[in-house]
Symmetry: C2
Subunit: 340 residues, 2 copies
DNA sequence: TCTGCCTTTTGAATCGTTTCATAAATACGT
DNA sequence: ACGTATTTATGAAACGATTCAAAAGGCAGA
């Protein structure tokens, strides 16, 4: 028993299919009496519009696709929420997918979204955006880059100044007296990681006598942080960094867990620790985590705004919004009392 | 300039549309030479299949819809990940939406998914499922309930024994010497909350002299927990509970933040605290959080399995998987050393 | 009653893909 | 070389909603 179609509704109500469609889309073109007949038929048959058919006819879907780097990271969850809210106001809905920092997964989802003929796409790209995203442009899809600036001629973008954020974090460590800094993050090929590291390098370069070490990780989650932490605590005291800057709060959380398990070490006494993103849990970590705050929800909202703008007027020049990150100092870098 | 269609590809390659379709779907029915011609045309035109048209023809989409209670809760993020992985193995993809405990939002997304003619739907329902979800069944949609048992004749379901979980949590508080227990959770109309509370009531009933107080919250997030915590610390010592059981770890995190800010109170000395879900951050809270662990990813995987089963054989009886939750003891209820 | 104008209704055509019965081309055995 | 299998290729029909030109219906004024 296949679902009811407009044809079925029309037959039941004793009207033409066009009339049913009008009831659905332009009620004021239809007399009250007819509307009522049609509505009754719809309810009796449990009719539900077939979105595929609508889309086929319309040429485009009414949804917006969003490819996130990691849905399990509360930072991205916040970005997504901001986008969803903004889109809801504008009457579109957003569908999400998580690439988990995997270029192949990203490509799969982008393909999927393109096949669905989404209105537009918000992407925080994994690696080099050149290949796939450029192709999207060629196909006429509107793309807004999240957390990354691409070719300013091609895409609008919403990003945060990661170099500055890295600079803030490392400067803070140095200013609180740390001289052997370690940067923990997953691979230089990740733009965010590379930028934050670059900022840290800049800060360190301004202070002679301060060293910076790069500790790459496979992933950017709590577990990876825990592993780095375990490696750290096994080091001799002479080789131990006294300040650790993690590319995000998940890593920092993991590092913190490991370091605290080593009974001889204390945070921030022996190691100062700072993360990135300022997720909700940072303030309630065993030792409240200093971090770099980014306006997550606003990033999402802004991305939707730029997308809408570009859909409205495809000729308009691309806009590039860059937010400034902000240092949040808590106990893990030596503040006297936990600041919630 | 509209996107290229199979017709365009066929013209360019000098073959019939049916042949292009065969190249795409049944390559072994097409000679190597023809395949090559068609492939070249596809690349030259940048042809991308129109999913709406495919779906219209097929009658059903190839995706599975999933409506979560709260995408910002790491527990649900894990469930989603489990489902996504399992679906990927089976060759389908999953689209997510977050109802945020709002019945209207839930209804909107369910409608959206039904219009998209998804293969099936995984729903962790907000309130009474009777109305909307029953309608879906009437329309022939396969629905698997997450984290909730509905009418066993109508739906398969994957759930966790929340009553038992609540019982475990409250029993643990009582066994570690607490006598004035408070339960923090958002509204009895939320099934999960109600069940966990019921379990707690059962545990308390077994121990004369132990009291249980219900502290409802508006939401189930960190902020709501913080507010409850602030209200608690303003109480006179006599009215202060000595054991607090929160309906999830987000609430517990918030309560913890507030209590620790009140300099006179300590966890677990003055107040023991236990949460629910055992999210990644529980172990790295200021005071590591005791919690009730649920097999999140496995819940997601199992839901997909049940859905696939039911799609395969719609006549088969509905299956109901109930996982047992597990107590995880850490510092917030008095363990000697933080257990990570 | 007829005319002109406005509102309401009609139904064929369209979107892009897949399917399938049929036709064409090719291979094989004698 | 001929008929029979087998492999390839064809293109009209179908999916379900929307659109739009045209028809029908309603109403006021002459």
């Amino acid at each position: 028993m296949r679902p009811a179609s407009v044809k079925d509704v029309a037959d039941r109500a004793g009207v033409a299919v066009g009339t049913v469609s009008n009831v659905l889309n332009y009620p004021d073109r239809v007399s009250a009496r007819t509307q009522e007949k049609v509505q009754r038929a719809i309810e009796e048959l449990g009719f539900v519009r077939n979105d595929a058919a609508r889309q086929l006819r319309a040429g485009r879907s009414r949804t917006i696709g969003m490819v996130l780097l990691d849905a399990a990271n509360p930072f991205f969850a916040s970005v997504a929420r901001g986008a969803e809210d903004a889109a809801a106001v504008a009457g579109s809905s957003v569908m999400f997918a998580s690439s988990r920092h995997d270029a192949r997964r990203e490509a799969r989802y982008i393909d999927l979204f393109e096949e669905q003929r989404v209105q537009g796409l918000l992407v925080s790209p994994v690696g080099s955006i050149a290949a796939r995203v450029a192709e999207l442009k060629a196909h006429g899809l509107v793309v807004v880059l999240l957390d990354r600036e691409g070719d300013p001629e091609l895409y609008s973008s919403v990003s945060v100044d990661d170099v500055h954020g890295g600079y803030l974090a490392a400067s803070h460590l140095v200013e609180t007296g740390r001289t052997r800094i370690a940067f923990v993050g997953g691979g230089r090929h990740l733009q965010q990681v590379a930028d934050r590291l670059r900022g840290a390098e800049k800060a360190v370069a301004e202070h002679p006598g301060v060293s910076l070490e790069f500790l790459p990780t496979e992933e950017l989650n709590v577990l990876a942080g825990r592993e780095v932490g375990q490696a750290l605590v096994r080091r001799s005291r002479a080789l131990l960094p006294d300040g650790v800057f993690c590319a995000n709060d998940l890593l920092a959380t993991g590092v913190l867990q490991s370091v605290l398990l080593a009974e001889s070490l204390e945070v921030p006494r022996d190691i100062a620790l700072i993360g990135y993103d300022d997720i909700d849990f940072a303030s309630s970590a065993i030792v409240p985590l200093s971090s770099i705050r980014q306006p997550a929800e606003e990033i999402g909202r802004t991305a939707i705004r730029l997308l809408a703008q570009e859909l409205e007027d495809p000729q308009a020049p691309h806009e590039h919004v860059v937010f400034k990150p902000e240092l949040v100092v808590r106990g893990s870098t030596g503040a006297a009392r936990p600041k919630v």
